[in-house]
Structures are given as C-alpha cells and as structure tokens.
Point group: C2
Chain length 500, copies 2
C-alpha cells in the first residue's frame, strides 16, 4: 500500500475511506480543515460528513484557513452539520444560514486565528483534516495552500490526511512552514524580503497523531471566472496610471513594492497591466496567487511571489507544469503572509475591494445594509492597516446604476479612513494621502462617485458642512440612501431615476 | 555661556530669545514640535509664535508627537496661526476650530506619522522645535517625551532647541532612540521584552542644523486631575476581577503581559488595583507613563515600564527624584512604542477608553454624533489591533444618565468588533472572545448597558433579529438614539425619562 506519496510504513494500515474517516468525528467537535480561497481544501471527508445520517445533529465548529471549494461549506450548512464557522467563507448557502442566525460565524482578521487558538481564546480543534501531496515520518506535505493548517496541528489534535493524487507532486518544496511561539515568547520573523524562507517544507507532525489516510483524486475548484468588463478595465487603468506617476515622482521605484492583491478580476486586471508600463522586477507578498501571478512570471516582470494559496482559473496549466514556477514561489501559513510585523517592514502595496466607501473614506468590506454578511473581512484589515499604500477599489454603482457604492455614511465600517490611502472607481482615482476629512470628501465625491449620484452627494456634504463638524454628517440623512434602496430598490430619488 | 546642559562650543553664539526663534519661522512652514500627552513639549517658541503680530497669516502646518500642554494648541488656533494640525490634539479651543472647518486636522494612528513623513506622503517639517535637558556635539537629549522628534529630524530641517532648566538633568539616559529605515529596507526591531534597548540615549543631530537655542524654565503641564468616582472604581473592579480569573484559569500568568493603558483616571485606577491582588513582576509597554506607573514601582509590583512620555499629576515628586526610577524606565519614539511588530510579538494587554460602543462591539473613540472630533484616535488602534487582549472601558451613561454610551449602532467606528475583546462599564464586563455578533449583543446589552436603557436595547436587538442578518440592524432606527438626544437632550424617550 505504500507509494511515492505515502512514505511512512505505519500509515499503510490506516488507509480508510472518506466515510470511515468522517465517522470518526464526534458530534460537537471542533474540526479544522486545510483550505484557503478554494485551494488545497480537504474535500472528501467533509463531503462524507455532510452525507452522514446524523449530520443535522453534529453541531460542529468548523475552522479553516479561508474559503473552501467544492460547495463543501454549502453542503455542510444545508445538512445542518454546522453550529459555528470561522474565520472566512464565501458560500451562498452558508451565507444564508449565517444571516438567518442558524450558523454562528466568527469573522476574523486572517492573521489572528492562529494566535486566538494558541492563547486559548478559542476552543482548539479536536480533529484536523489536511489535504496532502505526501505524508512521511516527519509530517505532511500540503498541496496548493497552507492556511491555518500548521496552527491547527500545534495542539495535538487527531489528524486525517487526504492524499490527493490529482495535486502535482512538484508542489513539494514550495512550502515554508514556520510557527511563531506564543505571545511574549516569540522571536522576530526573519523575513526581510518576499523570497526569504524561515521554516520547513512540510507541516511537522508526529505520524502517531494520524488517525487515518484517505486517498482522493480531485482538482481544486477553479477560481470563479469574472470577465474584465469596461468598468474593471477602467479601474485598473486609473490605478496603473497612478502607480506609474508615483514611480516618475520618485515615491516608488520601478519595482514598486511587494504587492498584495485581493481575489478577483479587478486585481487580475491590475496585475495584468504590469506586463506593460514602466514596471520591472516586481515581487508579491500576498495571500492568494492567481492567474496574473503566473502571467507576470511568464512575461518576465515578476521575480518572486509569496502567498498562502494558489487559486487558478484559466491558468490550470501552471499547476501541471509547476516545476517551472516553484523557485519563484513560496506558500506560507496565513499568520505569516498576513503578519503585521512583516507587512509593515516590507511596506506592501495593498489592493482590496470595497463593498461601499463613504464620502470620508471609511470602507465597508463585509456587511450589506450594515446587517447581512457577504463573505468576511479576510486579510483586508491586516494589509490595509500595515501597507505603505492601501488602495480600495469598487465600481461606482451596482444593480444597473440603482445603488451607489460611494455613500454618505457607510452602513458598517471595517476600515477607518486612516487605513485608506487611495479609492478607485471606474470614474477616477482619489488620492487621499495627507488630506483632512472635508478635503477627502471633495475628492471622493468629485473623482469616484458616479455622475448620477454626484449632485446628491454634493448636496449632502454641503448641508452637513453648514451644520459643522470635523467629518460633517447629518445623522437624520446619513443612511437615507440605504433606506431608499431598501424601500424602492434604488438609492436615487424617483425624480432622478432614468427611464427603465 | 556654556553650561552643563549646553555642551557644544559653537552653540553658545546661537542662544536667542523665544521671540527671535519664533521670528525665524516663515509663513506656510511645516513646524514639528516635541511633545506627547502634555510632556516634554516645546513651550516658549510656539507661545511666541502665537504672539507674533502676523500670527493670523502664518498658515502653519503643526506636527507633534501627540497633545501639547500649556494651552499651546489653543493659543495658536485662536491666533489663527494654524492651517493644518496632526497627528493628535486635546485642546478645547483647537477642537472648536477643527470642528468649524478652520483648521484641517489629520487624525493618525500614532505609529504611522513617522512612516508617512519618511515616504513623502506628508510634507516634511521645515523647522523643528525640541525641548531638551542637554545638547551636545552628537545631538539632543530630550526631556519627558520622545514622540515624533527623531522622525522630524530625519529629513534635515532647521532646528531650535528649548533648553529647559526646570526639567531634571537625571532624565539623561532614560531615552532609547532608534529610527527604522524606510519601508523595504528596515531590519527587525530587536525588542523581545519591554526593557530591551535598541538605540541611542539622545536624538542624533549634526549641531550645524541647530539654528537657535532658547533657554527656558517651565514645568510640564500636569495631568488633568480626574477623581476616581464610584463609576470608575467599579469599572476598575470588574476588570481586575476578570484579570485575576484569567490568571487562575491559566490564560495569563501572575505577571500578566506587558500593559498598555490609555490616559486618564480609569487607567490609573486599574493600574492602582494591581498593587493588590495576585499580580507581581508586572511590566508596561505603553505610550504614556502616568502616576500609577510610579505607584506600582514603589509598591514593588512593576519591574519595568516602556513609554513615549511621562505625564504626571499628583506624583510630580517622581520627576524630582528621577534617578531612583531611571533604571526601571525607557522612553522611545512613538513609532516604536506603538509598533505593530513589537506589540504583536509581546502580546500586550491594551486598555483604552471608548466614546461609545455599539451592541456588536464596534467602538467609536473619536467622533461625537459621527461628526465632531473629540481628541483623536491616538494609539488606540495600534494597540487594540495587535494586543493579546484588547479592553475598552466607558461609563455606561453620560450627562447625568441622558446619554447611553452603549448604542444600537455607533455613529462612527474606529475599532471594528474584531479588535475588541472585552467591554467594561460600571454595570459589568462583557467577555466577547470567540463570540458571534448575536452572542456579543446579548452579552453587551446584558452586562454593560445601563438598566435605564437595557429594555430599549433589547427591543432594538430583538426587532432587528426578526428582520435577520449576521449583525442585525434596522437602518431606519439604528441612529435614532443619537437623533433623539440631538432633539431632546436625552436618548431616552419622554415616557422613560426619570423626573429631573
């Protein structure tokens, strides 16, 4: 039963089916899964869990790196298997259960989960399921993500390994696994540039803790294909122009600074833009490595990229030909990709997506109408707070122009104005550095708001200024755009709506 | 003209009056001043600036460490000398000018100003005025604070030294001045515990950059005396009981973890409480060292304290007898006291004051009714985001019970719920660790809200839950308590108000 991927004799007797493995998980358990932005997620065992006859009574706490693929979160939520979930998710069915109050969701800064577990602020995993390309006497070689797997293994849980034959063996060697000691006992992280390695190429684990090994063969769910439409291309264009100007003015060099880019097509379009223009010898210090990472390596523009996962859409070929890229990449635990210490040392350029931005530059990344969870804050706070330059992008409007993404007051705030240097919509770019709130408002309304909403935005701001304040608001009108949309479907007053 | 404090021959010829020094500052200049929480602030030159005949036309940008004493901010604002001010202030007259839109105020995370200057995101100081106990051929020995002085000196400004004979010479040696290199070029900070030193005991400066030396003799403005009333004593009591329980349950040791405490009497009361109870060999890694720091050293409970300033009220004796304390203390630049790298390594316990807290644990530290600046965010974000345990305290009510400090939705958010572990009012303590928003609301309303408001708070939360959401809100009512107070002076509906 031993093979290239199963390198420890004693484990041959622990091969089992996904159903057998799932049956070992007791009701009420805390279960930790590998997986970060649909990459390297445990696949077979959680699916079998959702199929268990008693799934609805399991009351599990489910912890991951970040989002899972394969509809796993949705299947578990629909089966009623979940009581709690952290630290991030993107599944529509789980989202519905969270917003209905059926699953309790803890929306963490992704750098923090490991420390919360280490300190006993959260209950520690009883069982951990990790996808691997290999397992040996010293530990587990993970696949396309690292996430929180190292932190989950710290506290001696029972471990199930999913040995996935569909993941390329060439991934071995790309990982760099280091685990900070507890608060007050840890040393500085020796990462002075994105390529520095500080750990081991596997997740260290005593194989006696491995309860079972499940053989699987299934690819990661691909990144969701979102076309780069004119709006997204315009956002990317404004930002590339701004960065080129920063280079010309000497505030950045042509290699920019290590880049972080949130997931999605705007980020891919911006990064794609670096293939042209005055940029060279670029590096990334990010969470997710996407198609654009590989395009930029191929174009000879990107020299190194550090992340916690590889999540591909069109560029599945990069995984099949992974040996070509391995020396240019490293995959790390998310407490290290998102470490405030490293981020502020490197001075990353952070590029994240806003759900809405208010006229003073406060950003809502998570809560629709202040109430309903969309996905989660993810790493946006880790990066925005500690970046050299924190950029938030959003289309100026949504729902065919009915909703403005630039609003008088955000209905929820994830990122205060101090953490927001630049806002970009397809309308333009607002450089907010060094500006006071009233100046920020002029620029955000003038540069970023859609022309359909700009007169309304100006009216609100002027009326608020007449009443006074550092960041003037009219509390009785501050959320009126949201309320109008809840009542009529549009933030525009009836008189201003365009004929449908 | 040379003396113990003036140790560089060439400077004797540059002694001048405060008026002469002030006359060297040109209209439109960026002026950097020493000073942090009323300590070690430049005193005579800014006062002379405010008296200049053309003060109203100066249009200065004024940068400091944090707040100044001696009414300096107020005098400059009233003279009309200021166009811009950063990164923190507490002066009532300046506050009025900021909220009227007359002075543009940049409210920074206090760790960030130095990097913003270094990167050219902000214009750099043309003239810097630093209070000193001594000046020599290698640089300046500051007095009771360090603040941003080292960062101000980095870019070669003209320098005026205020040599203050009222500050104890024994301060020399307490400072530890290190200046991180630019983003991308800096090394790890070698601070593994609060007592570690990584720099020089003076601000390095080529004396040729010193334009003038002004002799002064004036003590720092004392900390504002706020008595510890029953409310504050109750807050301190709840928190001390909680910390003692954390020690008993093994999540903290009896030496706790390096403490950060915001300024004020609640912090002093809590720290005072450590003189009793199961705590020993305590350390501080904070911004401001207050009376309680010296009380705890005297009581044999505090072994070391690191800060950026010493701001005393009743304990002025500690400065007069400073040699007794010097080896137990270090004063650092604020980018190092507030460094995310060091804070997350040490795992500090952060204790800060909230202006209001919403039912889900989002904290407003700065904006009254979402509009009017009170003081500024200061270091609260640096500490709360990176702490092992982030505690926010506030009385449950203000204005004789008319305003609840626990509200349905905060009118401004400085600290998202992820950065708030524990909320304490005189009513009780809400331990929010590991809880989802709906659970947090139950605990905050139940433990922290004043009984006069609790039924209203429960009604709001239940109605919002019926509508649904992850953190359920009724946008049409979310700010209704604030609006009612704006209209009637009370957040309580007429029917619930107690007879006056």
């Amino acid at each position: 039963m031993l093979s290239e991927s199963l390198r420890h004799d004693a484990l041959a007797s622990r091969l089992m089916s996904a159903e057998e493995a799932a049956s070992l998980i007791r009701p009420g358990s805390v279960v930790g899964l590998s997986g970060f932005t649909r990459a390297g997620d445990a696949k077979a065992v959680p699916a079998a869990l959702a199929r268990r006859a008693d799934a609805a009574g399991l009351g599990l706490t489910l912890a991951t790196g970040a989002s899972l693929g394969h509809g796993t979160d949705g299947a578990l939520a629909e089966a009623g298997a979940l009581a709690r979930r952290y630290p991030f998710q993107v599944d529509p069915r789980l989202r519905r259960a969270i917003n209905a109050g059926e699953v309790l969701y803890l929306d963490h800064h992704l750098s923090e989960t490991a420390d919360l577990l280490r300190a006993g602020h959260l209950p520690r995993p009883d069982v951990v399921v990790i996808e691997a390309v290999a397992v040996h006497g010293q530990g587990i070689v993970p696949t396309t993500s690292v996430g929180n797997s190292a932190a989950f293994l710290e506290h001696g849980p029972q471990v199930i390994v999913e040995l996935n034959a569909a993941q390329p063996a060439a991934l071995e060697g790309v990982h760099d696994i280091a685990t900070p000691a507890a608060w007050g006992k840890r040393l500085p992280l020796g990462i002075l540039e994105p390529a520095d390695r500080v750990g081991l190429p596997y997740l260290p684990l005593d194989p006696r803790n491995i309860l079972g090994v499940v053989r699987t063969e299934a690819e990661d769910s691909p990144a969701k294909a979102e076309p780069v439409d004119a709006t997204k291309a315009a956002i990317a264009g404004h930002l590339l122009e701004f960065l080129a100007r920063e280079v010309r003015q000497g505030r950045l060099t042509s290699s920019l600074a290590p880049l972080q880019a949130g997931i999605g097509s705007v980020a891919n379009a911006v990064l794609g833009g670096f293939a042209n223009g005055p940029f060279s010898r670029i590096t990334m210090y990010s969470e997710v490595l996407q198609d654009s990472t590989f395009d930029l390596i191929d174009a000879g523009r990107l020299v190194f990229a550090s992340g916690s996962s590889i999540t591909l859409g069109q560029r599945q070929d990069a995984l099949r030909d992974f040996a070509r890229y391995r020396d240019r990449l490293v995959l790390r635990p998310q407490e290290i990709t998102n470490s405030p210490e490293v981020l502020r040392r490197l001075g990353v350029i952070a590029l994240n997506t806003a759900l809405e931005v208010d006229i003073y530059g406060n950003v809502n990344s998570t809560h629709v109408n202040g109430s309903d969870m969309l996905n989660g804050i993810g790493g946006s706070g880790d990066f925005a707070r500690n970046a050299r330059l924190s950029v938030f992008v959003t289309p100026s409007v949504a729902k065919g122009g009915a909703l403005s993404r630039i609003v008088p007051m955000a209905s929820h705030v994830d990122h205060g104005a101090q953490d927001v240097d630049v806002v970009v919509t397809e309308q333009g770019l607002a450089d907010l550095r060094g500006l006071a709130p009233r100046e920020r408002a002029e620029r955000i309304i003038g540069q970023c708001m859609h022309p359909d909403f700009r007169p309304l935005g100006r009216d609100y701001f002027r009326a608020a200024c007449r009443r006074g304040g550092h960041a003037p608001h009219l509390l009785e009108e501050a959320l009126s755009w949201h309320l109008r949309a809840q009542q009529t479907g549009s933030m525009l007053p009836a008189a201003r709506r365009r004929a449908g």
